[in-house]
Assembly symmetry: C2
Homo-oligomer: 259 residues x 2
């Protein structure tokens, strides 16, 4: 039977495993042990948070709640290793809950809509958690966690969760890539990236306050071909940047034509 | 002769004209008058800031300092209308100073590295100003303005200025477009954009603190083809989003392969 005292195990040793372990520990949600196929990485978490490592062959024997913070590709394989009587929760944006319910009655999803890195602390109480569950016992567990973490949980179907994940790719990974291109381009020419910081801050503030579609500016949205041509000429010999510039510019212009 | 008391005229009525007029007025840099080929828009500024409008045929007669906050395409044409003894300053990121020096001895560039919108106030003292000048008289004028505006000016050649402008397109216009796509996609599916806000805030904070190339996360940088395929399948029937997703993903992956 699942209770709030059922032992919790973390499986994985990447960015999500690190951040969950830290957040759970801080929120006094006790983690019984950890396992990862990357032993060295597991050891680091184990030592940092004083949590024992379990052996792989114990996964099929232990009862408890297993949180899978592993790569999407590994979820199914790892799930099969885990005691089928145990409860199993994955943390993936793009993986349906079904991948767990085929082997486990007690299954759930606990997907923090955030970008994590190993060595950057993050205030967990700001993170929306998208949850899904195979039954009410799991629901209670997940909601108890979000309460203790002082964050908000939102029920979200697998179909909607992948849509949020796609939106997150645009708003986080792609946004970051655009900034990375600016950073690279300025570095190549020994110009100062820090001069862009107020611009970036204002861009984000405006997008949050007025909506991003509303607040688009620049040569593409004005369909200012003279400036666009000058930019493309300056980007000569930087094929990748030039292609990216052209493609995104066309994407902005084509939106414009439809509105 | 140019002095700090030489009258200042603003030419234009778009976002930059609005924001400059406001900032100059606040900083007690007096604006003598304004002109724009869009009379109605000029009238709005004129009434808001209590600044007279001048007639087009006075442009060739008045002496003073003319700040051109007009579209890049209009700079050359408008410059020709202005008294060739007067000083003329443009505010464009992509236009060389030469376009002014062919007609005017006193020429300069005053390019605020920022995104402006008409009705959103912005703290001008946070904005780096890239300046260029044809002589020391103009230099003094421009530096005096930035001092009064309590902002920093940076000397920047025309060749470097367009490079900053390109970086600004990536870090502002393209960043905003990516957020706009996330916004649109969630709206189509009646999902909540506000859940992305902590993610966006963290993305930017991370990029600013650790550098954007350093802090790239997501399926593309992991070359996680399974997730990428799932996303592309979910984006089916949304051709533009799907193409943008593919293109930017490829761009991230190709950077990865080079590093």
């Amino acid at each position: 039977m699942l209770t709030l005292n059922t032992p919790i195990y973390i499986i994985g040793s990447g960015n999500v495993a690190w951040n969950l372990t830290k957040a759970f520990t801080t929120a006094q949600i006790s983690i019984r042990a950890i396992w990862s196929r990357h032993h060295q990485a597991a050891l680091e978490i184990s030592q940092t948070y004083n949590i024992p490592i379990i052996e792989e062959n114990h996964l099929s024997q232990l009862d408890g709640i297993f949180i899978l913070a592993v790569s999407d590709a590994a979820i199914e394989t790892v799930a099969k290793k885990i005691n089928h009587q145990a409860a199993i929760i994955h943390t993936s944006g793009s993986t349906p809950i079904d991948i767990l319910t085929q082997t486990h009655h007690h299954a759930g999803v606990f997907y923090p809509l955030q970008t994590f890195s190993k060595h950057k602390d993050i205030a967990f109480n700001q993170i929306p958690i998208l949850i899904e569950y195979s039954n009410d016992d799991i629901k209670k567990i997940l909601e108890n966690w979000t309460t203790k973490l002082q964050t908000q949980s939102y029920f979200c179907t697998s179909a909607d969760r992948i849509k949020y994940h796609i939106a997150a790719v645009f708003a986080c990974n792609f946004v970051n890539h655009m900034i990375a291109q600016a950073e690279y381009w300025l570095e190549v020419h020994q110009l100062r990236f820090d001069l862009l910081k107020p611009l970036i801050a204002e861009t984000i503030q405006k997008a949050m306050e007025q909506g991003a579609r509303q607040s688009q500016t620049g040569p593409a949205i004005r369909n200012d071909q003279i400036t666009i041509e000058k930019h493309l000429k300056t980007l000569e010999h930087y094929d990748e940047l030039k292609n990216l510039y052209s493609f995104v510019t066309q994407s902005i212009i084509s939106k414009l034509k439809k509105e």
